[in-house]
């Protein structure tokens, strides 16, 4: 709409302005609407004054004259006002948290938001346990917490952030952020690598440098899963890298100058060129490995494909399009960062980290007795050219450079983007939304709070746990919810400004694990034989005879290829196929994964196999179908959902509760409620088994002794609080001294909104 021609051209659905005719001019129609009407313009900021509306009316009626050569430019939203940052560095995480609260309070001054009280102790225990280790607290943890004195909240944060489950839960966060998919080459290795990195407290900047510059095979260099995830394509990788690690959607400039921001298409190509020599290689042997390497030629060419002939397109020289900060005097947070880094480097000895050339060649499978594989030969030649010092797989100079630029502490985007995501995960809203769209044209609020946190994150040496601790030790994290009768606009404003807690539901994985914990399903809670069931199923038995396959029979052949690992009663959508992180990096693919793939993939594979089989032999083994009935001890037990192949199959519990498919860039979790979610909770096997009181559970004995105590216990185990007197008296009627009644009570508690929404 900035030039005269475009203005008259109008939009997709209507003409903005018809000179001389205000009724037909969409622009005028819209500014005449009331603020409540849909489609009213302007949509942000203050409405037009009547004089301004009249002026535009008159202008259109008068023929909408536009002086020649005048181009309008968009006025950027005003830069958000900042308040003063603290002068001194905080001496502890608690002090940093207090500074955080102070800055936020000053940024909220005069906004008229309602700041709620902080949570009570029980609610804090529940919320922080869920957030930090991804499940509700156990009864033991409730007791332990009660036993700590005044300092209990601080102690709790410290304990939670040191537990093994901390790594499990935050691997889910990183897997979402990096779009990790188990069914892509290198996916599981990347997942295991992320988990290990969190466990080992790898600094975030080191992690990101490893991911961006990784080269080689996923089994020996699992970080390369990041590169393989986008098929080593420069365009995709550039878009993803900028969006994920810098929070900038420069990818929208892939095909043309960015429509809403200042990035030109050439900027994007300059960035993509850092990935322009990376190649994905596949060994031609069946079951051979996939790896990345660096080629000699730049594959990113300018001008773009649709704008020039191939012969006119020239290799692009990589250039980092983002500005790094310039300072006369190094800011104190960077000084602190450098000090931390220096002491870390001194700790890590001067081991020779070089992998020898021999080790590289050893890791390449030897071709015993086979003609030499030309691809392998080429790889060996390439590897001989590589620099022996340093990690051999970090062999892309360009990506090394990019990694340094991106993670440079003077690169404002880097720390802020991550802090924004972690903050949103814990508080419920980000400083910028969508979380990966930092732009001058997109609103950012509380800039000083964000800057402070980003600086502290950098100053800690990009230590993930420090960031989490500062946030969770603050009052902001402890805000309770507004009362139900709060007017809508006040609620929105207070929640968006971090003064009151929004409603946050547990992640699917967290809900899953919490149900397991609430119902004591991590271990068997029934003795052997208590859950015997008669199960009939069909199996295929090879008869030992062969037969020629005819057209109609092949369909029967394919159905056999289905996996026997499924339950067969439809409850597979709640099972957890555990993957073992430690064995991932060494051994072969998980074959169980294949059984949970979508039908089409399964059938394709089966059909291929049938075809191959047929091709090779022209005959196929004959199978007969038999129905067998057997007694199965269906003793329930569930593994953690955080150790599953990810993302789960489409109709699985986890996906139904919002786990993303992770195929698209910019895809976040869908928090909405759905019919299917409720059905799975109401009638699912997991909630049913969780509610049943197993004879090996403590509650079983307690119920026999004292119903009131048992009711208290159930509430604490499931909702982390004691029942109110009203609830208690209702519960007595429900339980009626019966373990069936107790199961009913527990079922309702697990299905309640209070269970799945954070306090």
């Amino acid at each position: 709409m900035d030039t005269h021609e475009k203005f008259l051209e109008g939009g997709d659905t209507a003409e903005a302005v018809v000179p001389g005719n205000s009724a037909k001019s969409e622009l005028l129609v819209r500014i005449h609407l009331r603020p409540i009407d849909e489609g009213v313009m302007p949509d942000e900021g203050r409405a037009l004054k009547p004089e301004e509306v009249a002026l535009l009316d008159a202008w259109v009626e008068g023929g909408a004259k536009w002086p020649k050569g005048v181009t309008l430019t968009e006025r950027k939203p005003e830069a958000p006002k900042r308040v003063a940052l603290p002068q001194k560095a905080p001496r502890s995480n608690i002090e940093a948290a207090a500074m955080l609260d102070d800055i936020l309070r000053r940024e909220n001054a005069g906004t008229g938001v309602v700041t709620t009280q902080t949570l009570n102790n029980a609610a804090f225990l529940r919320r922080s346990t869920i957030d930090l280790i991804g499940r509700i607290p156990t009864m033991n943890e409730v007791r332990e917490y009660e036993g700590w004195g005044e300092n209990r909240q601080t102690k709790l944060i410290s304990k939670l952030s040191s537990q093994p489950r901390f790594a499990d839960r935050w691997t889910v966060f990183m897997a979402d952020m990096l779009r990790v998919r188990s069914n892509v080459t290198g996916g599981n290795q990347l997942l295991a690598y992320l988990h290990g990195s969190i466990e080992q407290k790898k600094p975030y900047d080191v992690l990101v440098r490893e991911l961006i510059s990784a080269s080689g095979r996923a089994n020996s260099n699992p970080a390369v899963g990041y590169i393989l995830g986008d098929d080593a394509q420069p365009m995709e990788l550039a878009a993803a890298t900028a969006q994920i690690f810098l929070g900038v959607q420069i990818g929208c400039a892939m095909c043309h100058d960015h429509p809403f921001d200042d990035w030109a298409q050439k900027d994007f190509y300059d960035l993509a060129a850092f990935f322009g020599k990376t190649k994905k290689m596949e060994s031609r042997r069946r079951g051979g490995s996939v790896y990345t390497t660096e080629g000699n030629e730049m594959t990113v060419l300018w001008p773009p494909e649709d704008k020039a002939e191939t012969r006119d397109r020239k290799p692009v020289k990589p250039r980092f399009p983002f500005q790094l900060g310039h300072f006369e005097k190094t800011p104190h947070h960077i000084q602190r960062f450098e000090a931390v880094r220096l002491s870390q480097e001194q700790e890590n000895s001067t081991d020779d980290n070089t992998a020898s050339l021999d080790a590289l060649l050893d890791s390449v499978e030897p071709n015993i007795g086979r003609p030499s594989d030309p691809v392998l030969e080429e790889a060996k030649k390439e590897s001989q050219k590589l620099n022996v010092h340093g990690d051999l797989y970090r062999s892309s100079e360009l990506r090394d450079q990019l990694a340094q630029l991106i993670t440079d502490p003077r690169n404002d985007y880097f720390a802020r983007a991550f802090v924004n995501r972690v903050w949103a995960e814990l508080i419920g809203h980000g400083f910028v939304e969508p979380l990966d769209n930092f732009s001058d044209y997109n609103g950012l609020h509380h800039p000083t709070t964000l800057d402070f946190l980003a600086q502290e994150f950098i100053a800690s040496g990009y230590d993930f746990r420090t960031l989490i601790r500062i946030i969770t030790l603050s009052d902001v994290y402890r805000r309770s919810a507004l009362p139900a009768d709060t007017p809508f606009e006040l609620r929105e404003k207070s929640e968006l400004n971090f003064a009151a807690a929004p409603s946050r539901r547990m992640l699917g994985e967290v809900l899953y694990d919490s149900i397991v914990v609430a119902g004591h399903l991590e271990d068997f809670k029934w003795p052997k034989g208590a859950n015997n069931k008669q199960v009939s199923r069909e199996i295929q038995i090879a008869t030992g005879e062969f037969t020629m396959v005819e057209a109609g029979d092949a369909e029967k052949v394919t159905t056999m290829a289905g996996s026997p690992a499924m339950r067969g009663d439809g409850y597979d959508l709640e099972s957890s196929l555990k993957i073992d992180f430690s064995s991932i990096l060494s051994s072969k693919e998980q074959t169980e994964l294949a059984s949970m793939r979508e039908k089409s993939n399964e059938q394709i594979k089966a059909e291929e196999m049938a075809a191959i089989q047929k091709d090779e032999q022209r005959k196929v083994m004959k199978y007969k179908t038999e129905t067998i009935t057997e007694t199965v001890d269906d003793n329930p037990r569930f593994d953690s959902a955080m150790r599953m192949a990810t993302p789960a199959p489409p109709a699985h519990f986890l996906r139904v509760f919002g786990q993303p498919a992770r195929t698209g860039l910019g895809e976040f979790r869908d928090e909405a409620s759905s019919l299917r979610q409720q059905l799975m909770m109401l009638n699912g096997r997991m909630t049913h088994e969780a509610s049943r009181v197993g004879t090996l559970e403590p509650l079983h004995h307690l119920l026999k002794k004292d119903q009131d105590l048992a009711i208290d216990w159930a509430y604490q185990e499931i909702l982390t609080r004691l029942p109110t007197p009203d609830e208690k008296s209702d519960a007595r009627t429900i339980v009626d001294d019966h373990s069936q009644g107790m199961a009913d009570l527990r079922w309702a508690l697990i299905n309640s909104n209070e269970f799945r929404f954070l306090p």
């Binding site: 059905l679 009913d744 309702a748």
Partner: protein, 417 residues
């Protein structure tokens, strides 16, 4: 590039309007679709994934080197011939229409599936809704059953339309879905009692907090309980169906899926997607297609004739779609590879003029020779049949305006009488 899908004039962030009135997005409240002579009330989409060969199904090329192992057979329509793998379906083609000149642009499974299921090309930061989600968003639900059901596979996601528009998944057509009934060991009476306990508990929490997320959870719970109690659920079970009917459709998963689809639309389900894979035949295509024919032929033929017999055909749009075709040239492995440049689709019912052939491919099926059709035209056509205005604007939760079909998509008017 699909960035032209929304108005470039101004980026609109409807902060206040991404909120809701009475818990429903305002865009939904104001959605008044004025049907243009729309006839279709339901859709049954047969989604064949992998890239179904057009030469071996809808567009045979007898006498040419590319013909392959199948001969064409006559159909109930003069001048229309299809592959011999569809003998029963051939007798029903007077209900159906063929589009033989689809000019696709994506030869990659992922991108092509996205485009065929949503009408748009993939672009970062936006997830377009699949056709099913779009239809159930735009047309109000009929009856108690979920408006969008997906059988034997997952359709494209609901994207920016959200969870409410996701499909209800049926893994094994005809078999009991355990999530629709109380678990084994819980009697109906006890189950109902539990629901009452739950309702009372939730009333306390929601009473105190009252955020829109909590309210949405309550609504979903009510819907779930209604569904469980609905007599319409019987539609999902095939036990009460005449065994002869089941045999007529073919006792395969696909056959049962097609039969279930018919039952579901009879009970008011708006959109049913029946998924089938195994079409990516880079090798040994002819055996594979014989199998496909054996499963698909009786199923789709019976579906069409049954819908006609019970008067539902004119209201039910039946579509057979795949993400691209396959190369006319047969490769060394006896298969065909991806071919997006020219492929076919079949549509029937829902106001489609039976017996029409839209467009033609060249003598080898390599390129459209007449009347090329864009992929998005297919979507515009389906929207037209359903009375969904294609210049309608939808809004993402961030308030970004989105088109229903891409700019420039035009319905194939020759298909409508």
């Amino acid at each position: 590039m699909s960035c032209n899908d929304y108005q470039i004039n101004r980026r609109r962030i409807l902060k206040t309007f991404s909120a809701s009135l009475l818990g429903m997005p305002i865009s939904q409240l104001l959605a008044q679709t004025t049907p243009n002579r729309a006839q279709a009330e339901h859709v049954i989409l047969f989604w064949n994934s992998g890239g179904m060969s057009h030469l071996d199904t809808w567009d045979p090329k007898p006498g040419r080197k590319v013909q392959g192992e199948f001969n064409p057979i006559k159909t109930s329509v003069d001048g229309m011939e299809i592959s011999e793998i569809f003998p029963q379906l051939a007798k029903q083609m007077h209900h159906g229409a063929l589009i033989r000149s689809i000019a696709g642009t994506n030869g990659d499974h992922g991108r092509a599936q996205y485009e065929l299921q949503t009408g748009f090309n993939q672009s970062p930061n936006i997830m377009h809704p699949g056709l099913g989600s779009l239809v159930v968003h735009e047309r109000e639900p009929l009856g108690d059953l979920p408006a969008l059901v997906s059988i034997s596979g997952q359709p494209a996601r609901a994207g920016y339309l959200g969870q409410q528009c996701e499909a209800y998944f049926v893994g094994r057509p005809g078999q009991k879905d355990p999530y629709l009934a109380f678990p084994e060991g819980i009697s109906h009476a006890r189950g109902m009692q539990r629901l009452q306990i739950l309702e009372k508990m939730n009333a306390r929490t929601s009473g105190e907090k009252g955020s829109k997320e909590l309210k949405a959870s309550q609504t979903a719970l009510k819907d779930a309980v209604n569904l469980m109690e609905s007599p319409a659920l019987k539609a999902f079970e095939l036990e009460d169906e005449d065994p002869k009917t089941v045999a007529k459709y073919g006792d395969t998963e696909f056959g049962r899926g097609a039969l279930l689809a018919r039952r579901l639309v009879e009970k008011g389900v708006r959109f049913v997607q029946v998924n089938r894979g195994g079409f990516d035949n880079h090798g040994n295509i002819f055996d594979a297609m014989r199998n496909h024919g054996a499963a698909m032929d009786p199923a789709i033929a019976s579906l069409l004739s049954d819908l006609k017999a019970n008067g539902m055909l004119s209201k039910t749009l039946v579509v057979v779609l795949s993400e691209f075709g396959r190369t006319p040239r047969i490769n060394d492995g006896g298969g065909r590879d991806h071919w997006a440049r020219c492929f076919s689709a079949m549509m029937a019912g829902g106001g489609i003029k039976g017996g029409s052939i839209v467009g033609a491919s060249d003598e080898d099926g390599m390129a459209p020779a007449e009347r090329p059709v864009k992929v998005s035209d297919l979507h515009a056509t389906m929207c037209h049949a359903l009375g969904i205005k294609q210049d309608k604007e939808l809004f993402t939760p961030q308030g970004r305006p989105m088109r229903v079909v891409p700019k420039g998509a035009t319905p194939i008017h020759e298909l409508f009488a």
